[in-house]
Homo-oligomer: 431 residues x 2
């Protein structure tokens, strides 16, 4: 997957702290920082896998500066990755800001040559994943994330757009294929076959990893999901909507990092967020000092899972009612009020379709975080490998069932009920 | 739908017979015609709705010349239509020739400025629709059309292509949105609502047309189909694959006119051809001089319907077996032979998915030809309006059931069996 020649525009250079300082000095936005340029505190904090991230603080304001590198930061130049992802991230942010203003960081400056974006500094926001490991309740989260998803997905779908506008987005984001390819490989392919990228908590999960690689029903299900991911142009999706792409406080929620954005299946975004809530739910056994200490928090997570889906569903339907003037699901063929009930039934059937896809994608997201290349800190930070493996095996058990037996889950409560039950089981471990 | 400004390139001009003569004189291909330029016989024969078509005959060869107009020919300048459709038609033909060589006309010259393409002259081929009205049997047709569809659809799908190649096609053909919009309007929208474009055989079908406009189940079904048409990027489809897009003899079959090509659902092409075979089947009552005279021909049509599907299905699966190295349905996750059966099952499930979509799209194609804007000559040429309405009502009866009760049709034989039964009914007519 690394054989593409990366286009590097004339004038592109990798910035360091002083380079960022100089760049900002030359921009009109510099005034917002306050003080002299030498007083600005700038640090490189990129803890992600792909990019450089600088935090810039002046006396009166701050910025976050994100620059794409022509390779995967985590791996180095041996794994090239197009700089164009900064272009797609920027255009996704612009669309998201249009439809879900206040739920994304504001863009202050975009430099196409440097593949660099300057955004408002989100403070005192923290990455949600870290807050959940600490057991922090976020009272606005379910509301905000469901609004974000309903607004961005509805408004970039042909339920809101003309066919022509919609296909313009399809054409544009089809260019982000290198980022899609990463998802196709690491989420929908590698975990289901022997692959040197894969890792898991050894030796405890050896049996589970082997079972996954031998499971024909699971292979068939993930094959269907991968094709849906590749060929369902439903709406502009964030494409990487896990709890590491959420920065928040008790009062404010922002969705960051849409560099994987493309025109894909709505259920992928909803599934991503629900998968990561569930992974954190199972991880709580590794974060409580005394057994049961986090029981209330566990219930808050499951309640959040339920609210994310039910609020997303109802808000999407509300938007549809208000603004359903796009070329798909043409309201005018249902004409007068005599036929309105039929249109509403069909819209609800669409939400059922998204729900089924959501389950499959959530399952794929959970599995890949446990036996694939990229794990998450919710589970990785559990030091006792046997406890970690117990949490992981429970997540795998739920995920496998969600993907293969999705018919057994008619509603979101069926998922949280099963999660609660699975969390009481003692999974079989190797060794 | 007519409010787009049409881009007309500098240098574009509408050609007449002498303009075509002059153009060819300046091209290296002129030699193939033989004789002096003044001896070439050139006639404008465009009987389609959209374009100019010239046939050019010299002493040793001939060409067909097709030029797009910046409006719908049938309607005039009040209905503008992008010239870019010639660009998409050309690129679709190039792809089709790559994968289904010998089944499309060869392109001799393409002039982007003039939106003009020069192709080989197909002689003595005739438009299949006309041959079927005359009761002509085409022994190669089922073989050829199923090969054409299997090869073009498989090879432009992510079953054969990398995600990157596939998304390049998605980006390219998303530009053909104006042509998609025509289909969205005239096939999936207007027939189901009061619309001045609609017409039907009056008064006989007044009741049928009204029933369609009141049928909530049908409205729901066509709403789902329209969204699939707009948001299923499965493969490069021809987009207008009716029997008027087939020119053939007993020995040779060519598929023409892919100006509606885009990345859409495979079932749309298969459904189009089957719908048009079935429409002709029901029309035979209007073409036989004595009752029963065309019974053998009717059976040939139904046999052809069955062969088109079964051959398409088996050839698609054969291609998949041989060349299934694309990024979707990744064979390598099924690894060794232990899992090959699971992969094959999943591929067969894909064909079932195409079959279900095919039924819905075939039904939509049949309905629109009877109560929508554009009718076809198979039925329109029946002079006795009551007999025509009888044939049309039978087609509507089958189509309505195919679209709404597709579960009742497990295989292609269920469709032909029902067609035969419906063809024996005496439909209720108005007046």
């Amino acid at each position: 997957m690394h054989d593409n020649e990366i286009f590097v525009p004339e004038g592109y250079r990798i910035l360091d702290v002083e380079g960022v300082r100089q760049l900002i000095t030359e921009l009109p936005i510099a005034g917002a920082l306050g003080g002299s340029k030498d007083s600005w505190r700038i640090e490189e904090v990129g803890d992600g896998n792909l990019n450089l991230v600088f935090l810039v603080r002046g006396t009166t304001g701050g910025f976050a500066v994100k620059q794409a590198l022509p390779y995967v930061r985590l791996v180095g130049e041996s794994w090239p990755l197009p700089l164009s992802r900064a272009h797609f991230e920027h255009s996704a942010l612009v669309h998201q800001a249009e439809f879900a203003s206040g739920l994304v960081p504001s863009v202050q400056h975009y430099d196409a040559t440097l593949s660099l974006m300057i955004m408002e500094l989100l403070e005192p926001h923290i990455i949600m994943r870290h807050g959940m490991i600490a057991g922090t309740i976020y009272p606005r989260f379910a509301d905000d994330i469901s609004s974000f998803m309903a607004r961005t997905l509805f408004n970039t779908s042909p339920f809101a757009m003309s066919g022509h506008e919609f296909k313009s987005l399809v054409a544009h984001f089809a260019g982000n294929s290198a980022m899609c390819k990463i998802t196709e490989d690491v989420i929908f392919t590698e975990p289901y076959m022997p692959c040197e990228n894969n890792r898991w908590t050894r030796p405890w999960l050896d049996g589970w990893a082997e079972t996954i690689r031998q499971d024909d029903d699971l292979k068939r299900a993930v094959t269907r999901l991968k094709r849906k991911f590749m060929g369902s142009t439903e709406a502009m999706i964030h494409g990487d909507l896990h709890t590491g792409s959420v920065m928040l406080t008790a009062e404010d929620t922002r969705i960051i990092d849409p560099e994987f954005a493309f025109m894909g299946p709505m259920g992928f975004d909803v599934g991503a967020i629900i998968a990561n809530l569930l992974l954190n739910y199972f991880s709580q056994i590794g974060h409580e000092r005394n057994i049961g200490e986090r029981n209330d928090y566990r219930e808050w997570i499951l309640l959040t899972v339920e609210k994310v889906w039910t609020l997303f569903r109802s808000r999407f339907l509300e938007l549809w009612q208000e603004k359903g003037s796009g070329d798909a699901y043409t309201a005018r063929i249902f004409g007068d009020d005599n036929h309105a009930a039929a249109l509403n039934q069909e819209r609800e059937a669409w939400m059922d379709h998204v729900f089924v896809n959501m389950m499959g994608f959530a399952a794929a997201k959970m599995i890949r975080r446990i036996v694939g290349i990229a794990h998450n800190i919710d589970l990785e930070s559990i030091e006792d490998s046997r406890i970690r493996a117990t949490a992981e095996a429970r997540a795998l058990q739920l995920a496998r069932d969600l993907m293969v037996n999705s018919n057994a889950y008619p509603d979101i409560a069926a998922i949280t009920t099963t999660a609660r039950r699975v969390n009481e089981t003692i999974p079989e471990l190797t060794g």
